[in-house]
């Protein structure tokens, strides 16, 4: 008797699960506004990337052309591919020789956009931008210097 009840139970729950699945896809087909496909080259002007999309590493500068990078090389150590190269220089501050950032070299062609450098940075100097049109005709253009010319360390960042 129990097996007979189980037989009909199985049919009932089987059908129920099928209807659940069909309701999900039925919702999708009746809500064409929720389609996530982008018509990319056509909507280039209005296309907005998601906040969490990782396109490339950028060094943030404020309006006074100041950045927050102290040249500590934590990101260079954190990078699994050797994408980042930090070249430092010595500067005089109040008669003391202090280490400071000279060139922040970023090899985009080696970057896997893993984002491990971002949490490694102790001063929150770098960020993942959500740009994605990186194609260039010359490979050397992929090696970028991230600190802008003439930029210096922001006051109070150590």
């Amino acid at each position: 008797m129990k097996s007979i009840i189980n037989y009909f139970k199985e049919i009932y729950f089987g059908l129920k699960s099928l209807v659940t699945g069909m309701r999900v896809t039925g919702h999708y087909i009746t809500h064409p506004k929720e389609i996530i496909t982008q018509q990319y080259p056509e909507n280039r002007d209005t296309l907005k990337m998601f906040e969490r999309f990782r396109g490339e590493v950028v060094l943030l500068h404020n309006e006074n052309n100041e950045h927050r990078c102290t040249g500590c090389s934590a990101c260079e150590i954190a990078c699994p591919n050797g994408t980042i190269e930090i070249i430092n220089k010595k500067v005089d501050i109040d008669g003391r020789k202090v280490k400071a950032l000279d060139t922040f070299v970023y090899h985009l062609q080696m970057c896997t956009m893993c984002g491990l450098c971002i949490p490694a940075c102790p001063t929150d100097a770098i960020k993942m931008a959500n740009t994605f049109e990186h194609a260039v005709f010359d490979r050397s253009k992929l090696t970028k210097v991230l600190n802008k010319p003439g930029s210096k360390l922001m006051d109070g960042v150590k």
């Binding site: 069909m22 896809t25 087909i29 929720e34 996530i36 496909t37 018509q39």
Partner: protein
């Protein structure tokens, strides 16, 4: 029924026009050629429309857009695909059995042509009105499996052979359920002739008139016919992830296009059988004695009713395909032999009892 929509006037006048000019034998031959050409055209149009519909519907079920580039909304995509298939090189495995390899696509297409010949598209628009219509359609629509087995066997490819044998096991099993679920309605109609079955639904479709047993039979027919056409979730015969493409792995170009077309033609045929038996075929929606409502419904031509119902069933099959995960071979056979067949057998007895007591409308 509005006489304007009766195709027998058109076909009859063609027949008379031919009879006045040529001998009776020539009339038969010319009419056969005409019917053959119109079915070929129908298949070509169906293939183009259904492939586009399938791609669009599947895209919308998965929150995608589908083909969008060729033509407005990608409408010319299938035409581009057809041109591509026609220009492709017909490759053949060196060790393949050449005769059977070339024969297999034709067997499948011939089975589809034989089945479509008996379908009533509208009043008077039916090539062959057998008095055993359903038996004939059920028999020839499963002939396609011979083509699948030939293709799998002659390809000299183990994936093809596995796919073909799976398809054989599947169609042998599910043919039972298809035939028995159709028989459930035949109990009420008392005739196997498709035109009589359609006429018997003039005061309501069987799915409404036959109460719950008819509805159960309809569900079983939907499941079993999806399996019989080798479509997902029952597409283990060509399971892409396991068998590359199953029985048509070795086919390319036009021969592959034949298999592809046959899949969609078979989908159309089983949907048309389902629409004819359960949903009234070309018969408009009539409710008992509501004269005004029935008159309004009669105003819509039967051919639209037929294709509307067939499209509804095809849409259901696409819905199944793009929702459910593929069944394993043991799950497939369990579903048939443990669930569908016993339920079907009980259902047909219940339906016979209902018919005997006259409890249906």
């Amino acid at each position: 029924m509005n006489a304007l929509y009766d195709f027998s006037y058109l076909t009859g006048s063609i027949h008379e026009w031919l009879s006045e000019r040529v001998s009776p034998h020539a009339v038969t031959i010319v009419e056969m050629i005409l019917v053959g050409i119109s079915f070929m055209l129908l298949f070509a149009i169906l293939g183009i429309v259904l492939v586009y519909a399938e791609r669009k519907v599947s895209a919308f079920f998965q929150q995608r857009l589908g083909p969008m580039r060729v033509g407005k909304w990608g409408t010319a995509q299938t035409i581009a695909d057809v041109i591509k298939l026609l220009l492709k090189e017909p490759l053949m495995n060196k060790e393949a059995d050449k005769f059977l390899f070339n024969l297999a696509p034709f067997v499948i297409m011939i089975a589809a042509f034989m089945a479509i010949a008996a379908l009533p598209f509208a009043k008077g628009l039916q090539a062959l009105d057998f008095d055993i219509g359903i038996l004939y359609v059920a028999a020839v629509s499963s002939l396609g499996v011979i083509g699948i087995l030939l293709a799998g066997w002659s390809s000299n490819n183990k994936y093809s052979l596995i796919g073909a044998m799976r398809s054989g096991a599947q169609i042998l099993s599910y043919e039972l359920s298809v035939a028995l679920s159709l028989l459930t309605i035949v109990v009420l109609t008392g005739s196997l002739q498709l035109s009589v079955i359609v006429e018997s639904q003039a005061d309501g479709w069987w799915i409404f008139k036959g109460h719950i047993p008819a509805f159960i039979a309809f569900i079983i027919f939907l499941i079993a016919s999806t399996a019989e056409t080798n479509r997902g979730p029952f597409d283990i015969a060509e399971a892409e992830s396991e068998l590359t493409a199953g029985f048509h792995t070795e086919y390319s170009g036009l021969k592959f296009a034949f298999f592809f077309l046959a899949e969609f033609a078979n989908m159309f045929i089983v949907s048309a059988i389902g629409a004819t038996v359960f949903l009234g075929g070309w018969m408009p929606l009539h409710i008992g004695s509501w004269e005004g409502f029935n008159a309004v419904m009669d105003f819509i031509p039967p051919i639209f009713w037929f294709f509307g119902k067939v499209s509804f069933l095809i849409f259901m099959m696409m819905w199944f395909r793009w929702t459910f995960p593929r069944l394993r071979i043991d799950q497939l056979l369990t579903l048939e032999w443990k669930y569908l067949l016993p339920i079907n057998l009980v259902n047909i007895v219940v339906m016979a009892f209902l018919g005997l007591m006259g409890w249906h409308f």
